[in-house]
Symmetry: C2
Subunit: 213 residues, 2 copies
């Protein structure tokens, strides 16, 4: 899985555009992972749209993760599921998913990170790095410092999330992030494809600089 | 599975009492199935409370079904899952559940009933039989007539739901219902245990009269 540019959907933040249209544009711009995150949708709609995203991501060679609903992830044959601290316990999800699918877990502290890794998470969503308006319940910003701290003590990939954009992404990558997750910075952009392409270029350039250090 | 008195939880309609307390009382009154249906709970809370309901129902010899969240049903080792027309498609759920667990599907018409049976449902929730205040999106009442009609064309158990109480339950059973599902009539009663016991007695008496016809 290439976590470089991990785009999380939000129909509320897509300025009236359809989620599928936004996903298509984000993939065209180079998004490497799409996470379907729609807290107000029915499971039926999640499955219907999820099946389409599965096709689009497969064609684009991108990963596809479903937020919260492990059952929907299985139903649409997503690559995995992403869970928050209020969702299914990670250890339970690991058992239900089997080893064939990816388990991502949101963490906001060292303790949560160690617990999620021990429970069998394949990657961590770390944040909110900066203040964000995209998630009402995101909590206090943890800063890129948590990425640097976790990089020393956990072995699984770290995907930074929360208030990240073109300007501050280099700092987050420099701290050690394996990928950058965004909602508004891509799905809320005027030109979704351009926003994704520019952000991906910034992230990859920062990774290259980090590799050359 | 004994569908006689199928009690559906609703923390909103439980008059401030805890769901677990209401479940304990409903089981003491003789509820034969408990369905955990809490649309506003997180998956984490569903799992925590669901594990307790699993213990209580096992001790009582009652069935335990989880509404909507197939993943939670698997996580807490419920006997099965109940799906509405906006939830996971029944055919997908059948595949994910395997044959070991029960699949219930809400239907409000002959077409939906035939489709659900063909998709592998183990029982049907049929309704709303009468007008109900417990579900905002329940649709127009179908009357006990739909039970009589379905009894002739589907082979799986029919659980009637929607506005059923002690007074009208005999009519629903006479129409052919294999069980009666209630929310308010039990979880919203002043004395939950008594309400369950009285309703169960009415249902069983009506079944006996039906058997003797």
């Amino acid at each position: 899985m290439d976590y470089d540019l991990y785009v999380v959907t939000s129909s509320e933040l897509s300025c009236g555009r359809q989620t599928l249209e936004v996903v298509r544009e984000a993939l065209a711009g180079g998004a490497t992972v799409i996470q379907l995150r729609e807290k107000n949708w029915t499971a039926r709609t999640m499955v219907e749209v999820g099946r389409e995203i599965r096709k689009l991501t497969r064609e684009a060679g991108a990963g596809f993760i479903v937020n919260d609903r492990l059952d929907v992830a299985l139903a649409v044959e997503a690559d995995g599921v992403h869970l928050g601290q209020d969702d299914l316990p990670a250890s339970v999800a690991r058992r239900l998913l089997g080893r064939g699918r990816i388990l991502g877990v949101s963490v906001g502290s060292v303790d949560e990170a160690l617990e999620a890794q021990a429970a069998g998470a394949d990657y961590l969503g770390v944040g909110p790095i900066f203040a964000t308006g995209s998630k009402a319940d995101a909590g206090q910003p943890v800063g890129p410092e948590l990425i640097s701290a976790l990089k020393k003590i956990v072995s699984i990939p770290l995907v930074a999330i929360g208030g990240i954009n073109r300007e501050n992404a280099p700092e987050v990558v420099a701290a050690g992030a394996d990928g950058v997750a965004v909602i508004s910075a891509v799905v809320g952009a005027r030109d979704v494809r351009l926003a994704a392409a520019e952000l991906l270029a910034v992230i990859r350039a920062a990774k290259e600089r980090r590799g050359n250090r």
